[in-house]
Assembly symmetry: C2
Homo-oligomer: 206 residues x 2
DNA sequence: CGTATTTTAGACCAGATGTACTAAATAAAT
DNA sequence: ATTTATTTAGTACATCTGGTCTAAAATACG
């Protein structure tokens, strides 16, 4: 029955989000589902196997998102929209980002995969920024406008906004958190906008 | 013997940094020290008590740093120096930042204290930025230069640069990591500098 | 020196966890 | 319908953990 496996993933996801990966055991997940723990082990070798599959779900959602956003329409509007939607998707799997370091430490395979994906993310931003410069929307690079640093700032905020939200915004609603931190990321771009860029973003903000 | 307590803190700090807080038990620390675990419990009620004292050590170091940096000399040079030195100090206690969310979740008292300190951090940056604007070093605030967002960006990077380093820079030397991520933080300010500000920072970078 | 206090060790307990193994129940297939 | 494969439950085990209690050793003190 394929159904059981799905239920396990779903329950695990919710429990991970609630209590944190470290505080959820195989036995807890099975108890929650009214299953024997040996049954759970039949479907997943261990907790890491569950996490790996959940990570794959995230990836699939991200790929679907990328596909839905037209590549040729390479505007800042699309960039910001993908931020909002990406943030919304990852929120449902927030345990993964909040316990990121724990997970990476105990799962070297996932760690390497994560590093590979990061390279893709880097190139994506790199080329987006280049085309925004070419379009006169972002300022040209200079000693005080080093876009490699910008991309690394984006990386940290993308990786850890959920951790930060857990500490500083506990109790706030999903929508509020997602839009706050989405704005935080977008504001990284603002001081790099040209006048033309600003007027384009002005329209988006209406 | 006060000595034992110090040794426990020292060993705990090293083990936490090495293995992560979740993977270190009271019994492990005592084993490492050749002590009985009941002896450890005699000195510290539990693991959280150890972490709390280590956190106090961090605070004391931070206070000493703030005192050493003259308040009246409110330049961007001092700001950047305190970043470098602050980053260096916290590196030795990196477990605290890497396992921040875990620690906050299981230690509500520490969480509140951390939130209080964050308010101080906020006001500090707020007033520093204001005086830098007044001095013509940073640009005036505007719709595309919202300094509240800048301060929140600073917050996330300050809180999670060590986590990010653990994932992306494993194996790199301390000095490299500290200076890389210090630069990352400083670059948050760069696009907000006036021409005057740029020329001042130019001298610092020589 | 003898007494009181602090520090340390050892033993024990109850609970949770991962893992392995066996057997029953259910579903699929021929 | 009988066999085969898949899915599930149950049990048992070794390990680790936090916590408590008791007593010995070390230290401080009067």
């Amino acid at each position: 029955m394929r159904e059981t496996k799905k239920k396990i993933l779903e329950t695990a996801r919710v429990l991970f989000n609630e209590k944190g990966v470290a505080n959820v055991s195989i036995r807890m997940i099975s108890r929650e589902l009214g299953l024997s723990h040996s049954n759970l082990i039949y479907h997943f070798k261990d907790k890491n196997a569950v996490i790996e599959l959940l990570h794959q779900q995230i990836l699939e959602a991200a790929i679907a998102l990328n596909a839905s956003i037209k590549e040729d329409n390479n505007t800042i509007k699309m960039l910001f929209e993908s931020v909002d939607q990406g943030f919304r998707i990852i929120y449902d799997y927030r345990f993964f980002m909040i316990d990121l370091n724990l997970i990476m430490r105990e799962n070297p395979g996932l760690h390497s995969k994560f590093l590979e994906i990061e390279q893709l993310r880097y190139s994506m931003y790199k080329s987006k920024i280049e085309s925004l410069i070419a379009a006169g929307i972002m300022k040209a690079e200079s000693s005080y406008r080093n876009y490699d640093y910008l991309i690394k700032q984006i990386r940290i905020i993308s990786d850890y906004w959920l951790s930060s939200a857990q500490i500083y915004e506990s109790g706030e609603k999903v929508d509020f958190i997602v839009s706050s931190y989405g704005n935080l990321l977008k504001h990284l771009f603002y001081p790099y906008l040209t006048q033309k860029g600003e007027s384009i973003v002005d329209e988006l903000r209406m």
